[in-house]
């Protein structure tokens, strides 16, 4: 079953004060089946994040289609969907993790994860239990659970970010270099989590600059350089 199909996606940014239009991606085409992991590779500035942000609708695409097979709405074009539909999907079906943590000030680590679940309509009790599970899983020090993330280290912020997204068990998860500043052991945890999500049927599209990390994890690779998708049989093609 095709979960996500991107057809002829184009995005350019119009910068008014320079009177200029800067092309970001052109005619992107790929598809991902349910439970698959598509890795996007390419040099920095080649438009990898632009693709993810276009899927999440943080960017408005100029042309093309992004057909997502939603549980709630059936097949839906994320480019044309209403804002309210996108908000619903973000709360319930599509997750996005970047390397930046952007959260309400003076909200504790525990509350942040809990709120993500409450937003979906989980009960307080379920939210409490699942939050503790998730925080222990990502080896967040218990002493940090009730403190504010502003003072967390880069790695702790990242792990909290990933916990907030994965605790909702999204159907489609977009990963924008979420492991950029993690140590090997934490990266391994994230990898384990991704494998677990895959087994549960989550579809993933991810960008990792760490090719080794993606090895054996991706089912398919989209190469920005050739604008092509290839199926990974063994390992991951190396960037030239």
């Amino acid at each position: 079953m095709t979960m996500l199909e991107v057809n002829g996606l184009c995005k350019a940014f119009t910068i008014h004060h320079l009177n200029k239009t800067i092309p970001a991606v052109d005619e992107i085409q790929f598809s991902v089946h349910a439970g698959e992991f598509l890795g996007i590779i390419g040099k920095s500035g080649s438009g990898k994040s632009t693709i993810l942000k276009s899927i999440y609708r943080t960017y408005l695409s100029n042309a093309g289609q992004i057909i997502y097979d939603s549980k709630q709405f059936g097949k839906i074009d994320l480019i044309q969907a209403s804002e309210r539909e996108i908000i619903f999907l973000r709360k319930n079906e599509i997750g996005y993790v970047s390397q930046f943590l952007n959260v309400m000030p003076r909200t504790t680590c525990r509350e942040l994860v809990q709120n993500a679940l409450l937003e979906m309509g989980e009960t307080k009790e379920t939210a409490r239990i699942e939050t503790e599970k998730a925080l222990s899983y990502f080896e967040m020090d218990e002493g940090l659970w009730d403190s504010y993330p502003n003072t967390f280290s880069g790695g702790e912020k990242l792990r909290l970010n990933i916990a907030m997204a994965t605790v909702k068990k999204p159907r489609l998860l977009l990963l924008d270099e979420p492991t950029a500043s993690l140590d090997q052991q934490s990266k391994w945890k994230v990898r384990e989590m991704i494998e677990k999500l895959k087994q549960q049927g989550t579809t993933l599209v991810g960008i990792f600059h760490d090719i080794e990390f993606m090895e054996g994890l991706c089912d398919k690779v989209f190469d920005m350089k050739s604008n092509e998708m290839s199926v990974v049989l063994e390992g991951v093609p190396h960037e030239s």
Binding site: H17, T58, F73, S82, R84, F88, M104
Partner: protein, 279 residues
């Protein structure tokens, strides 16, 4: 998605002055920003339309003078609008343009359907009444006559907004700006209004008080599912609170969209300038 908005605003218009043939056309050379150089009319709100859905927080951003507050005042019947329609999807009100209702019916809406938190607490509170008295005033206006239940509700609300109960009888004029703002929020919530308007509620507050007010608003939304229109010139506040936002300039809506989209992929020239200026 077939959802019915709880509040629909259509072609809202507010002008100060009589207008003239020159300023009917907003592209006219006589119109400078929103001011007509020919007749001196200020077009404070021009053709503003939007929908507010149940349980959502809608952000409205724009520079000072862009018409944000004028629009809110119009919605709250503080001032008459020149033209436009406003529909509220609540029992007994659906299908009526509430701007055309009698002043008695408008008062009913203010007391039962709307809550308002002004930028300046002086407008929302009686500064020389006790804090709990201020809250009771709104409940009395809504027809409550039971002192015991009003007192209980008032204390509950003050507790929710973190005002120590031992100070409940104190007048807001003795309070700090942040505390006054929180008493205002408690007052606005006293009748469980389905729609809440917040006008620059965190402006002028220090960061730590600002954080507690934001936290309070988020909590209200999460637990009471109140629909809110949050007006602010502070993009950071809007980013924290609103899923969808509207950008206003010279009385008009120039851009609307998902808040993160407006911040990361702004389309209009003015919105781009606004985002580039973000600290």
């Amino acid at each position: 998605m077939s959802e019915t908005p709880i509040l629909q605003v259509k072609h809202l218009q507010k002008q100060f002055g009589t207008g003239c043939p020159h300023c009917l056309d907003k592209e006219s050379v006589y119109v400078e920003k929103n001011y007509c150089t020919s007749c001196g009319t200020v077009h404070a709100v021009r053709d503003v339309s939007f929908d507010l859905y149940p349980g959502e927080v809608l952000g409205i951003v724009g520079e000072s003078g862009s018409g944000k507050s004028t629009m809110l005042q119009g919605l709250y019947f503080d001032s008459d609008m020149t033209a436009g329609e406003v529909y509220i999807n609540q029992p007994g009100l659906a299908g009526h343009n509430v701007l055309n209702l009698s002043s008695q019916q408008k008062r009913y809406i203010r007391n039962h359907v709307y809550g308002m938190v002004y930028q300046n607490p002086v407008h929302g509170l009686k500064m020389n009444f006790s804090s709990i008295g201020n809250i009771a005033e709104k409940m009395i206006a809504a027809g409550n006559r039971h002192v015991g239940s009003m007192e209980k509700r008032g204390e509950e609300l003050l507790e929710n907004v973190h005002i120590p109960l031992r100070r409940r009888k104190e007048e807001p004029q003795n309070f700090s700006g942040g505390m006054q703002q929180r008493v205002q929020i408690a007052k606005a919530l006293s009748n469980n209004p389905p729609i809440l308007f917040l006008d620059e509620v965190t402006t002028g507050l220090d960061l730590s008080v600002q954080a507690s007010v934001l936290d309070l608003i988020k909590q209200i939304q999460r637990e009471l599912h109140i629909s809110m229109v949050v007006v602010s010139h502070d993009l950071a506040v809007i980013r924290m609170l609103a899923d969808r936002s509207i950008v206003m300039l010279n009385g008009e809506i120039i851009e609307k969209g998902l808040t993160d989209q407006i911040l990361e992929d702004p389309q209009h020239e003015y919105t781009q300038q606004l985002v580039y200026s973000l600290l």
